[in-house]
Symmetry: C2
Subunit: 216 residues, 2 copies
C-alpha cells in the first residue's frame, strides 16, 4: 500500500513511518518539502529501508492509497483544505485528538461536531472513507517496533478495514470501536493516558484490553 | 471500615460487597429493606462471611464511614437527597456513569455539569469528600474475587485516599486520575468497554494500563 503521512514530521509520524516502512511505501508529507526530506534521512536510521520518501503534503496525498492525518488538531482543517482536491475516493485515517495539555492536566476539548473525526468528516469530500484510529499509542514507544499496543478503530467500513490491516502490520492489536459517532470515546483516551502519566509519575502509558470470551 | 453500598442490590453492589466483606463491615442499602436482606443472604454464599448487613439506604449511610453510590445515573439525585441529612462529613465514592445503552451502541451522555461525579458534587453537603472510581470493572467479573482489574480514581484528596485503600482491598489496581474535573475521561471508559464487547463479540471487557517507568 502507498501511505501518505500528512504532517508526518512529528512524533506520531515518525513512529508510524518506522513501523510501516518495511511493508509499505510511506510518503512523509510536510508543508515544507525540505523538512520532510530531512525527516526521511532520520527515520531511515530506525527503519533500515529505502521505502520512505519525503515530499509536500499535496504530493504525498496525490500518490497515496491511504492518508493518515498526523497533524495537531489546530491545523487539521487548513491541512485538509490544502489537499482536498487530491483526496477524492481515498481512505483517510485520523489519529487527531482535540485537547488542552498543561503541565498538570490534560483535558479533552472536542469541537461542536463532537470529535476531531466528526469535524474531519464535514470537511472531507463524500467520496473519501474515514476512520479514527491510533489514539492510544504512546508516540515515543511507537518508534521501538517491538512494543505491542492495543488500538480502537471507529469509522466507515472501507477505511476501518484498511486501518485494521495497517494496525496489524504495525504490530498493534486493533479493536472495532463501531461507527464514527463513537469517536469521542476513543479520542478522549489520549488525555486520560497523559493524565495517568502526570499524576502517577509514569511514562509512555498505554492500554491493553482484557476480556473473557474470545469470539473474535 | 464501615462501607455503605447505597442501592447495593444491583450487579456492581454484589461484586464490591463480595470483595470487601472479608475485610470490612459492608452495609447493603436499598429503598426496600427487605430486598437488601434478601441480597445479603445471596451475597453471603459468595463471600463466606457474616460481615454483611442489609438495611435501608438511610440506615446504611448513617452507620457508615464510606458511602458508595451503586445506583444508576437516573436515580442518583433523588437517592442522595434521601440520605443527605446523614451523609455530612463522610467519604463518598461514585462509580456512576450517565450513558445510553442500546443493543448496538453505548453512548456517554453526561449532564450539563460535565459528569455524574460533578453533578453529585453539587448535591452533596460541602463537608462530604467525593471521589469517582470503579468504572472499569465488569460487574460480573467482579463477583469472582480473583480477577484483578485496573481502576482510575479521580476526586478530592480524602475520598481519593479511601478509594485507593478500598481498591487494593478488593484486589483492584488503582491509578490516580487527578481532580474531580477529570471524571468525564474516566466515566466515559464504561461505554467504551461496552462498545468493545458489542462490536468485537467479547464479554467482561476491562482495561489494563501499561507503562515504561515505575516511578510509583
Amino acid at each position: 500500500m502507498k501511505i501518505a503521512l500528512v504532517g508526518g514530521t512529528g512524533n506520531i509520524g515518525k513512529g508510524l513511518a518506522v513501523r510501516w516502512a518495511s511493508k509499505h511505501d510511506v510518503l512523509i508529507g510536510s508543508r515544507l518539502e525540505e523538512k520532510a526530506k530531512t525527516c526521511v534521512l532520520e527515520y531511515s536510521k530506525h527503519a533500515g529501508t529505502t521505502r520512505l520518501v519525503g515530499c509536500s503534503n499535496e504530493s504525498a496525498v496525490e500518490q497515496a492509497d491511504v492518508v493518515v492525518l498526523c497533524v495537531p488538531f489546530e491545523y487539521v482543517t487548513t491541512t485538509i483544505e490544502s489537499v482536498r482536491h487530491v483526496i477524492e475516493g481515498k481512505c483517510v485515517i485520523s489519529p487527531v485528538v482535540p485537547m488542552r495539555v498543561s503541565s498538570n492536566r490534560a483535558e479533552y476539548t472536542p469541537p461542536e461536531e463532537g470529535s476531531a473525526a466528526l469535524l474531519v468528516r464535514t470537511i472531507l469530500p463524500e467520496s473519501a472513507s474515514l476512520a479514527s484510529a491510533f489514539h492510544t499509542v504512546p508516540a515515543k514507544g511507537l518508534v521501538n517496533p517491538e512494543g505491542g499496543y492495543d488500538v480502537v478503530v471507529c469509522g466507515e467500513e472501507e477505511a476501518k478495514k484498511v486501518a485494521f490491516e495497517l494496525a496489524i502490520d504495525a504490530n498493534l492489536r486493533p479493536f472495532d470501536g463501531g461507527p464514527l459517532e463513537n469517536s469521542p470515546l476513543v479520542e478522549s483516551l489520549t488525555p486520560l493516558l497523559i493524565n495517568l502519566g502526570i499524576y502517577n509519575n509514569l511514562k509512555n502509558v498505554s492500554i491493553k484490553f482484557l476480556y473473557d470470551d474470545i469470539g473474535r
